[in-house]
Symmetry: C2
Subunit: 683 residues, 2 copies
């Protein structure tokens, strides 16, 4: 139990071996030497008709001297036994406590209930080697290799050249010799092929970092590679921000400044070193105990991390230096972690679809779905992924940085003080809003009670999206995005000069600057253009999917290919975007709202999955190779789709799931005016 | 010609392809693109009955625009053609000039006429890649990989992580674009699997270092990896000498001093960096053009080079940290060469038989001989190798450092001023000698004409060996090594106080110190002990060979196993030791003197062979694995053999090849005295 596996083994079989024979993976670091205590089990007593057996602790060999020795040194519940010290003498029903199960499964996050099978690339094994003698002239390394082959079945091990010097002292360490005897060591292995660390005696603790390097924010999870547990999570602003707010300005910096690319590389590496040090301190380990790192990031971050000048990514044809995953040593990047610590950089897909998107796909797994999944990952550009287990397509859509709060009059990065949520009373047109760093909503007219530190400094991405949608729902702006002349008469917050309007979201007294924060016609237009680009990208993928679908043709399939069953919103909106607002704005196509989820930093979760499961690294490489990339810049359909998508939510596409939630469609003059305006606009 | 291969190919076959089809390996870096000019051939005109063909330049397609373009830019003899630009149109007799032959063979050195097949681990290839387009979203690396697979048939290439950043600039280099077009690069490959360098356009020049790190001297050969030519040879004293004259004192230093091993590592790495810089300057290249290094050295040097504390080598059981060859990056050792430059450290055999001995075996190849070869490599200990293609055995014999001039009253390292050769007139007992750094022999009584700089400072290894032998031949000492009382009467140079004697080799006026340089009883004794240990080691191997010979048993074989056919003297004697003196001293067993050769720094040659031929690296690993190591310290026979070998040349072993060259054996009292003295003596 709990796997339910059963079978017969010869009388006297070691219980750890018996478990393996039945396909039950019990944890074991020491390889059955009563050292690690990881293979503890419980014998259920009684008659179990379902299993047709009578189980009893008597059916297991009694506690012998080896197990006694372990019990004397370590706490162990009375009812438990070390499987590796037991022999099967009769029928048994065994329960394997969760902590004794190998290949632990952990839940990555609540939003999508992703289960991670803990099978990391880096693991530890305990090995008992033998001393050198005058007759045995092999090297200590060769003797150790032979012991590993015999005790663990692993052949052709190599050892990192800088770790080799630690081998002899570890084998002959006398401090640990009182416990396990000399010539016993714990090896930290990468991919069961390379020795990254040699520690004297029995040792526990191999740690890894999963890092998502965003343009704005760097998030690092420090994980225990054995249990999969996140021991610490640290985040910091990407220090490259000082060389350019958005990606393209950093590419320009790399192009224009001598040594610019090198500087961008060095500051991000320094930031990673700082984060690792902090995370290690929080977890009570040393940074040198970190043995594995998985890095995700957009293509520009990916290149800069690897020391590659991102200049080619700054212009067509946006050539990646490399798309495949890169395995290297942390020291070669300047990371100050374990001497032989490995780094796995996730693969990229195309010039605008980077390792962060691969990480998102790893976390959300569209390629494993029966239903059609749409993933929208919004940053400076939006990466869009669409598909199911038959086929996955992706594209990067030139939304520009409006969704990140840039190009917005009072826009700002998602940081304390930014308005991140907005509600507008449809009757009074009075706004309520929430700022980052302050838990309570700011109600209209509550200015005197708002603490100074909670005063708004600007509007971040999620805030501007909600503001525009709420303005539309309240009738302040029309479906075509223009300010409604009538609204100016309903509230003094709406100002309209006959050509352009603006809406006062925060009064002067509610802001940190003492100036009101407004949303004006240009801001609405910027959001419209961004969402139209995003929507057009989605439509383009849908069209491409119909064209290239391996089972297209039948009407039933055609219909299915025109709709999405599930939408995942990921990325740097500042906070979780509200699915309803996203749909009303027309960022995303129609879908059952209960099946639209915002997952926040899915790239970080994907990096964590790749850190904790070596097979998922291969999976990521397969994703990057097999996904069909559609280049929006050369797609003839894109401009048409874009024009059609400027209206809120869309000029012609139906949104049945928003039934009853939208204001009446404009008719007459407004509709005609809106038609006239549907012309391509430069981004 | 000159291979003599012939065959038929379809009309119109490209001549480079035709050569390959016939198994004639023509050099080509550019892969048939009329860029490198390495595949030049000459068409022989006329009727060739032996080959039954009539050959004519008309039977080759005429010079086309591609070859014309090459000829315009490069000098090319009128009679030559680029094979890659020619098609076979009829019968042809083709001569491949030596420089166009791939797998060049070079002569390693005159002494043993070893031929090196130039097939290095590192080579360059020229590749024409394709530009990125909006439709082709692969990375530049993936496109290049595809081009390499197509143009060179090499798959699964990897690229050094620190070289990756140079890829895009090289592919888009505009300076080289006028010549070969953009997206054409020259790759430097290691083992046809890893890219170590990317250079724009067509480039030539990959260089390697073969290094023998001796306890006293470090010798470095800088080689052109394409031609095999030695471009520069540099040597320096091992700077570790300041931390200990001999190996054991350095091991002590590493044990006693905190950070001692690290310091020893750093000073030798710094010395290698200096040497590489000098060698590169001499060859007119940059140190960063060096892409491969092969390191040989005794076990202590081997460990220190790899950053391994040599402490375990300082006492029984003399455990090596590793015996297998080690492949790593030069940068991980602190070597300042090409960014991705590789290092191959040759394997070791046992605690006292190191990578230098493997290099010697690679150079002298006892395992490839039909006859029995004995190799004696003298340093602080003597490594002895004995065998033939059936079986090779080796041992380290505890000769102590006397052969290096240590433990000798006026002994010194082989350096300018050291007496390296000695002759003693058997009548007058007057000595002639040669000092290192001065070409002429110093005759007795020539003191006033000797330039001050040529005055003797001491006696090095080869000098003391010759001195002892000449003293024996002149009757100054007897076969048992004792000073002959009668000799004192024959010359004032021989002093004898009744118990101990001494011989004045250099008069006070012939020395730099103004003190006479003498050889005394202790010196003779030290040399006797050293040579006895060496000889006992040889006998031990012979006995072990008889015991373990796969085809032992028959009398004929038994006889063969008791003699050696060929003796190779290698190592740090200071200068080449004279075979006759070595045999008279009884260092080596009886052998035809014409088949005893001194080969000097054979380890350096072995390193060069491994540098220039990748298969020889595998051969070295096979040698290290398959050689039978005999541990003298535990061999019961060793002490007996040692005692028997103290006499000059030996108490009982016959030396038929010295017939007539030795003084009459002592008889009567001297013989009896000598018998009494043949007792074990501590070393």
């Amino acid at each position: 139990m709990p796997s339910g596996r059963k079978g017969q083994v010869p009388h006297g079989t070691n219980l750890l071996d018996a478990a393996r024979l039945l396909g039950v993976e019990l944890e074991s670091i020491c390889g059955g030497r009563q050292t690690c205590g990881k293979c503890q089990i419980v014998v259920e007593e009684g008659r179990f008709p379902k299993h047709a057996i009578t189980s009893s602790t008597d059916h297991l060999s009694p506690i012998d001297s080896r197990e006694t020795a372990y019990r004397e040194k370590n706490h162990m519940d009375a009812g438990r036994r070390l499987a590796c010290a037991c022999e099967v003498l009769g029928d048994l029903l065994i329960t394997v406590p969760e902590e004794s199960q190998a290949r632990k499964q952990i839940i990555a996050k609540a939003a999508t209930d992703r289960v991670i099978d803990v099978q990391p690339a880096v693991r530890q094994i305990y090995v008992e080697s033998t001393p050198a003698t005058l007759e045995d002239h092999r090297g200590d390394w060769e003797r150790l290799q032979a012991a590993v082959a015999e005790q663990w079945g692993l052949k052709n091990l190599t050892v990192d050249a800088l770790v080799l010097p630690t081998l002899q002292p570890a084998l002959r360490d006398r401090k640990s010799s009182s416990e396990e005897g000399m010539y016993c060591v714990t090896l930290t292995l990468w991919q069961d092929s390379e020795v990254l660390r040699v520690q004297p005696g029995y040792a526990e603790g191999a740690y890894g970092l999963a890092v998502d390097v965003g343009s704005t924010t760097v998030v690092m999870h420090l994980c225990d590679l054995r249990t999969g547990a996140v021991l610490a999570t640290e985040a910091t602003m990407n220090p490259q921000v000082r060389y350019g707010e958005d990606l393209m300005s950093r590419v320009s910096y790399a192009m224009m400044e001598p040594q610019g690319a090198a500087r961008l590389h060095h500051v991000i590496v320094a930031a990673l070193n700082d984060l690792a040090k902090k995370a290690a301190a929080k977890a009570g380990i040393a940074a040198s105990d970190i043995m594995d790192v998985v890095l995700a990031g957009n293509t520009v971050m990916h290149h800069i991390l690897l020391g590659i000048d991102p200049v080619e990514l700054g212009g067509a044809p946006f050539a990646l230096a490399i798309d495949a995953p890169v395995d290297l040593k942390a020291r070669d990047l300047g990371l100050k972690l374990g001497t032989a610590c490995r780094v796995h950089v996730l693969p990229c897909i195309a010039g605008h679809v980077g390792a962060d998107n691969v990480a998102v796909q790893l976390a959300e797994a569209p390629h494993r779905q029966d239903e059609t999944m749409l993933i929208v990952d919004v940053g400076t550009n939006a990466e869009i992924v669409l598909g199911d287990r038959r086929q996955v397509l992706c594209a990067s859509s030139p939304t520009g940085p409006a969704f990140e709060g840039a190009q917005i009059t009072h826009g700002q990065r998602a940081a304390p003080g930014a308005i991140e949520r907005v509600r507008v009373d449809p009757q009074t047109l009075a706004p309520r809003f929430k700022v980052i760093g302050h838990d309570e909503w700011i109600e209209p007219g509550t200015t005197p009670t708002v603490p100074e530190s909670a005063r708004a400094t600007g509007i971040c991405g999620s805030g501007i999206i909600e503001a525009v949608v709420e303005m539309y729902l309240a009738g302040i702006i029309d479906s075509d995005g223009r300010f409604n002349e009538n609204a100016a008469g309903r509230s003094s917050r709406v100002r309209f000069d006959g050509r352009k309007g603006e809406y006062v979201l925060a009064d002067a007294a509610q802001t940190a600057t003492g100036q009101p924060i407004v949303v004006n016609q240009n801001d609405v237009r910027a959001i419209q253009l961004a969402k139209a680009a995003l929507y057009a990208g989605v439509k383009l993928l849908m069209a491409e999917r119909r064209r290239s679908s391996p089972d297209g043709g039948s009407t039933q399939v055609e219909d299915r290919l025109q709709t999405v069953d599930r939408i995942v919103l990921a990325g740097a909106f500042g906070s979780y975007i509200d699915p309803r607002h996203a749909m009303i704005l027309g960022m995303i196509p129609d879908c059952d709202l209960s099946r639209v989820v915002a997952v926040g930093n899915a790239a970080g979760d994907g990096a964590r999955i790749a850190l904790l499961n070596r097979e998922q690294r291969a999976e990521a490489a397969r994703i990057a190779r097999s996904v069909i990339h559609v280049q929006t810049a050369v797609a003839t359909d894109f401009q048409n789709q874009f024009v059609g998508a400027i209206a809120i939510p869309h000029a012609t596409d139906p949104f049945p799931h928003l039934e009853g939630q939208l204001p009446a469609r404009p008719t007459g003059q407004a509709a005609r005016r809106s038609q006239r305006r549907r012309q391509p606009q430069p981004l």
